[in-house]
């Protein structure tokens, strides 16, 4: 087992649904470091090129913009990583978790509820949405991608029926928190860092995390060892949902008003960040510190593009191309290690 604090590794067990060749485990310790160095290198390159074209890119304004973008994407990326590491493939309904939680938070605040209650309700909403997905997956024995594709579109439709747009009360503490800064960075950046650290620690040191990784690495082997797949899957979806719920709470803090569609833009950047970070779609493997790097890199792209004087839509083009590139590399690695 890897001893590094935040990395999670799959137990190498022969045969089973997603058995992996034994040779891969030796190279594993180096993979996370190589991933981290590669992403950091590309990130520095992006910053260097942008600075060459526009020297004013290196400013506190840019830092604010990037950390701002990275905050919510980062928390959501942790939620997505949990699902992917557990072998749950992908949760395509995360944008719904995000906005639904944001909406319930706003509802509690608008009704005059205390801040802690609003935050709690937001997190519980996310967990409940995760539980819904998890229950369908576990009891229907259905593929999570199909289930969350359906609940993602269904959930968006549901939200459009529930509300057209939501506004957080301007004077609320949560809104004030969203406007504030701490150590020169936006307030919402810090909860993201805390979530990454806590999730990383939970994966490495708690029973929940150990089981999640074991199930993702080799479901049949985990089952044979007496881990309940149902409980592990449900636990993953509920946990990931709660994290997405927290992202929703942070989202309300920085978006004074939003529509049900507002979550759609996060879908790709989150999946791209997860895959770019080397969290393999086949499960059981992922490092949340590398994830932090890839979120930071992806969050820099929109700001870079603005400095290049390109239309914001170019960010979608580049992020899409990056995702294609990243999954290509992920697939290539798996293919090569399978030889």
């Amino acid at each position: 087992m890897n001893t590094s604090l935040l990395s999670s590794t799959e137990p190498t067990t022969p045969s089973g649904r997603q058995s992996k060749p034994a040779g891969r485990s030796d190279a594993r310790a180096g993979t996370a470091v190589r991933d981290a160095l590669t992403i950091a290198g590309v990130w520095v390159l992006l910053i260097a090129v942008t600075t060459l074209v526009r020297p004013d890119f290196l400013s506190s304004q840019t830092l604010l913009a990037v950390t701002f973008t990275a905050s919510i994407s980062g928390i959501l990326a942790v939620a997505q990583s949990l699902v992917v590491i557990s072998g749950g493939l992908l949760d395509l309904s995360l944008p719904v978790s995000l906005i639904l939680s944001a909406w319930t938070t706003v509802m509690v605040l608008s009704a005059g509820g205390p801040t802690f209650a609003a935050v709690g309700v937001g997190i519980i909403t996310g967990a409940a949405w995760g539980a819904l997905n998890g229950l369908i997956v576990v009891f229907g024995k259905l593929n999570p991608i199909i289930v969350t594709l359906a609940t993602g579109f269904g959930g968006l439709a549901l939200m459009l029926l529930l509300f057209q747009s939501a506004q957080i009360p301007a004077g609320s503490e949560l809104r004030q928190f969203g406007l504030g800064r701490f150590l020169g960075l936006p307030n919402i950046f810090w909860p993201m860092i805390v979530v990454v650290l806590l999730a990383g620690l939970a994966l490495a040191y708690t029973r929940w995390g150990r089981r999640l990784i074991a199930v993702g690495g080799n479901a049949q082997a985990a089952k044979a060892r007496g881990i309940s797949l149902r409980k592990a899957r449900l636990g993953t979806f509920i946990g990931a949902g709660a994290v997405a719920g927290l992202a929703g709470v942070m989202f309300t803090a920085v978006n004074p008003s939003f529509t049900p569609n507002a979550g759609a833009g996060f879908q790709l950047i989150v999946i791209a960040a997860v895959i770019l970070a080397g969290v393999s779609l086949s499960g059981g493997k992922g490092n949340l510190l590398v994830l932090l790097l890839s979120v930071g890199f992806l969050a820099t792209i929109p700001t870079s593009i603005a400095f290049f004087g390109l239309a914001p839509a170019w960010a979608m083009v580049f992020q899409g191309a990056l995702l294609i590139f990243a999954v290509g590399i992920d697939g290539f690695r798996l293919k090569r290690s399978a030889r």
Binding site: G154, A313, V317, Q319, G320, L322, L323, D330, K335
Partner: protein, 333 residues
């Protein structure tokens, strides 16, 4: 000799009733039941007008272009790869066609260019998926975003309007009271169904989707089949985009958003799977699209918020996948 007799034996015709029951258990049977239920609900809720020629015309027009896109995309599903980028490709194809035609180029030339772009997009998907062994869903999700981004880069303000006479006639015309485009779509469905079930090529696609390793051992080139299927999917979406310009007279930068969900939901309701290949028939896809279009129509007639559609489709989709699983489809643990 014994093999032949055994084969003869298993082919003994069943009684009509037994055969009907047998086919009801199959994918086409359950989707047929769903379609019948939709029609009955439509008749009960909205009266006999539901099956009036004018209403059938309305449903037919709305289903024609998605049907053409769906039939082409179904080859990819059958070959075991899913192409999520079709919705954006429809939009991107429409945007290119609309912009270039309004810039004064010859519509036929532009149509050719658009189709080539669709093929290239399919090829890029295919190369990354087949040669690098990347997860199809993630690759085509990237392509979906990339193409939608390009649509928004190209069309910033109100898009120009174009009128291409022959295309307008094609998309708005009717033969014997049936929309021309619907007839073309149904014709294409039958050709595709014949290809899949009756030809060597079709069986190859099924074999590749069902068990790629076994197909490879049998001497079928898995990568070639999958590349062809993904190119077909891209071309189908490009054609869909061109036809939408004919129908709408313009192309905004959000055209086709979410179309992939409705198409894949319809295909999965019709017996396809986005996670495993080798199953499904274009006719099932046609029924699935008719179910979705029928529900849309019922909601429209009864002045329901169209948002209920996605909610109902999502529920039917999960039910359909569950039924498929109970019928022996793959289960996830």
């Amino acid at each position: 000799m014994t093999a032949t007799t055994a084969q003869l034996f298993s082919d003994t015709p069943l009684s009509a009733r037994a055969r009907l029951l047998e086919s009801l258990k199959g994918p086409i049977g359950s989707i047929g039941v769903t379609l019948a239920a939709t029609i009955i609900i439509g008749l009960v809720w909205t009266g006999p007008g539901f099956l009036s020629p004018s209403n059938i015309q309305i449903v037919g027009v709305s289903v024609a272009i998605p049907l053409i896109v769906a039939v082409m995309a179904s080859f990819a599903l059958l070959a075991g790869v899913v192409d999520l980028s079709i919705g954006s490709m429809v939009g991107f194809g429409a945007v290119i066609f609309n912009q270039l035609v309004s810039a004064g180029l010859d519509p036929w030339l532009v149509a050719g260019i658009t189709i080539i772009v669709g093929a290239v997009v399919g090829l890029v998907n295919a190369v990354v998926i087949v040669h690098f062994g990347a997860e199809p869903l993630a690759v085509t999700l990237g392509m979906l975003t990339l193409l939608r981004g390009l649509c928004q880069v190209i069309v910033v303000n109100a898009p120009p309007t174009t009128l291409v006479e022959p295309l307008y006639d094609l998309t708005q015309g009717a033969v014997l009271g049936f929309p021309t485009l619907l007839l073309i779509g149904i014709g294409l469905t039958f050709i595709a169904a014949g290809f899949v079930s009756k030809t060597r090529g079709g069986r190859k696609v099924q074999a590749v989707g069902g068990d790629p390793r076994a197909a490879a051992r049998a001497g079928i080139s898995v990568s070639r089949v999958r590349i062809a299927a993904l190119v077909a999917s891209g071309v189908g979406a490009a054609v869909g985009g061109i036809l939408y310009v004919g129908q709408l007279g313009s192309a905004s930068n959000v055209l086709g958003t979410g179309l992939e969900f409705q198409i894949y939901a319809a295909l999965m309701i019709g017996g396809y799977s986005i996670t495993r290949g080798g199953v499904g028939n274009p006719l099932g896809g046609l029924f699935g699209l008719l179910v979705v279009a029928g529900i849309t129509n019922i909601l429209n007639i009864n002045f329901f918020d169209p948002d209920y559609l996605d909610l109902i489709v999502a529920a039917i989709l999960i039910a359909a996948v569950l039924v498929d699983r109970l019928r022996g489809g793959d289960s996830f643990e």
